[in-house]
Amino acid sequence: METVITLAYIASAVLFIMGLKMLSKPATAVRGNKISALGMLIAVVATLLYGGMDYKWIFLGMVIGGGIGTVAAIRVPMTSMPEFVALFNGTGGLASLLVGWAEYNKFLNTPDGTLELVPVIAIFLAVLIGGVTFTGSMIAYAKLAERIDGKPVLYKGQQIVNGVLLVVLLLCGLVYIADPGAALAQPLFYLAVLLSLVLGVLVTIPIGGADMPVVISLLNSYSGLAACAAGFVISNTVLIVAGSLVGASGIILTSIMCKAMNRSLTNVLFSGFGAGAGAVGTGKTATGEVKAITAEDAYYVLEAASSVVFVPGYGMAVAQAQHVVRELGDLLAANGAEVKYAVHPVAGRMPGHMNVLLAEANVPYEQLVEMDDINPIIESVDVCVVIGANDVVNPAAREDETSPIYGMPIINVDLARSCFVLKRSLRSGFAGVENPLFYKENTRMLFGDAKASITALVDQFKSA
């Protein structure tokens, strides 16, 4: 039976690899996900073949967890996707923590039980990484779902507190690893569980909402590494392979996100970006005249435009405006304009957030363009319509060396012939950085809720 199980694990590892490979191409992605799910099914069934298993707790757990997961996944609206990905990610981390803890508990309950050095260390790592993943993801979830303030939480000596916490954690780990069966090791192990959970909270609260794409991909990578550690705990190859694949892919996504913001990972994790003037500068105060425009005037400009580019940001998700945006896009296209949607890699709150929303609104795939493809031709665009995006179109990133976002690649909407910015107010974006775009000669501000503004434009077109 052992051989059958191992062979099944190999098959499931192969399916994960194929699935992941297919997930990275649009044409094969749906099938890739199904193949990876098949791999998971095989791994689960194979595991159930182990002798001496007590199935009642297993089935109870799978029914409860599977029910919660499936119902949540079916009911979640596309706009809430970032926080749910964070939530699911967190539960995976917690599972790895518990696997490590359960194994330690088994050792404690076995008279004369022995534990090799590698599993002993792996248990500690599963608890540490799993714990940080769990509470870190929960904080990310709460920030994204706006259950708590998305602004970075900073206080004096924050790095020192985190550093001390980490040192204490490692000391607990060392004592426990030295002799897991000792009387002192047990309370210290429980302390390590607790501190790992606390550490996850403390390292995530200083990170602002706009940096969430980076944090989510990083936590995703952690959850893979936690699973990997759990694999070393129980000497299970499929856990190790699948966990490392996720760990590696998460790190790659993280670095893509960092590059798109022209910042290092350390800067994202520790700078408290977006806390306002206290932590970082906000750049030169922009001067000039702000020119507002009414929906009616905006309609006349759009009606005459032969090329229009929509630039969506997090504000579009908040206003749930993706459907009316697509409607306006269709009307413009019917009117003879060339319509495109330019998506910045870090627009929104998770990697690819805007693409998901626009896909939900049935925006044709061909109309989506990436930043690097639109920037070279942006000067020939008649109207750029910025919907709830701010930092990703901030020309200070190009022009103002004192701006904290200086050097970040942006979509150069200010170079288009004209630019409409849909915004509730002149308030600066999430990062608290001044945006000179609002004061540019060819910029017109269309104040109000994004969805209401776009709807007004749609009505203008329909009544014309």
């Binding site: 994960f16 690899i17 699935g19 992941l20 997930l23 990275s24 649009p26 044409a27 992605a29 749906v30 996900n33 990876s36 998971m40 791994a43 689960v44 007590d54 109870l60 757990g61 409860i64 599977g66 919660i68 997961g69 499936t70 996944a73 990905v85 699911f88 539960t91 995976g92 599972a95 518990l98 359960a102 088994k106 309950n109 590698v118 995703n220 893979g224 936690a226 699973a227 759990a230 694999g231 129980i234 499929v238 856990l239 190790i240 699948a242 966990g243 490392s244 590696a248 892919s249 998460g250 996504l253 998506v343 890699p345 998770m350 990697p351 690819g352 998901v356 896909a359 049935n362 795939y365």
Partner: protein, 96 residues
Amino acid sequence: MDMLLLLFTFVLAIFLGFELISKVPSQLHTPLMSGSNAISGISIVGALLAAGLSADSVLGIVLGLVAVICASINVFGGYVVTDRMLSMFKSKEGGN
């Protein structure tokens, strides 16, 4: 199993992971992340073993049960959500 062999597997798998995902178009970032997130629910294997083989202590049962619940949420939720997102992309390309 030999620990060094496990370590060997680990290192190779990490490199394989880097090779697999080096170039991904940005419209697939979310599904890829969510799909790989579902794969990290593989800790369900450890959870099943913990829940099925620790009937001798109450704490063991509780840990195992909660681990299975959490891992199942990750697995089921992760795959279903990814499938929902990817299906939306699919329809745009005329059914693949």
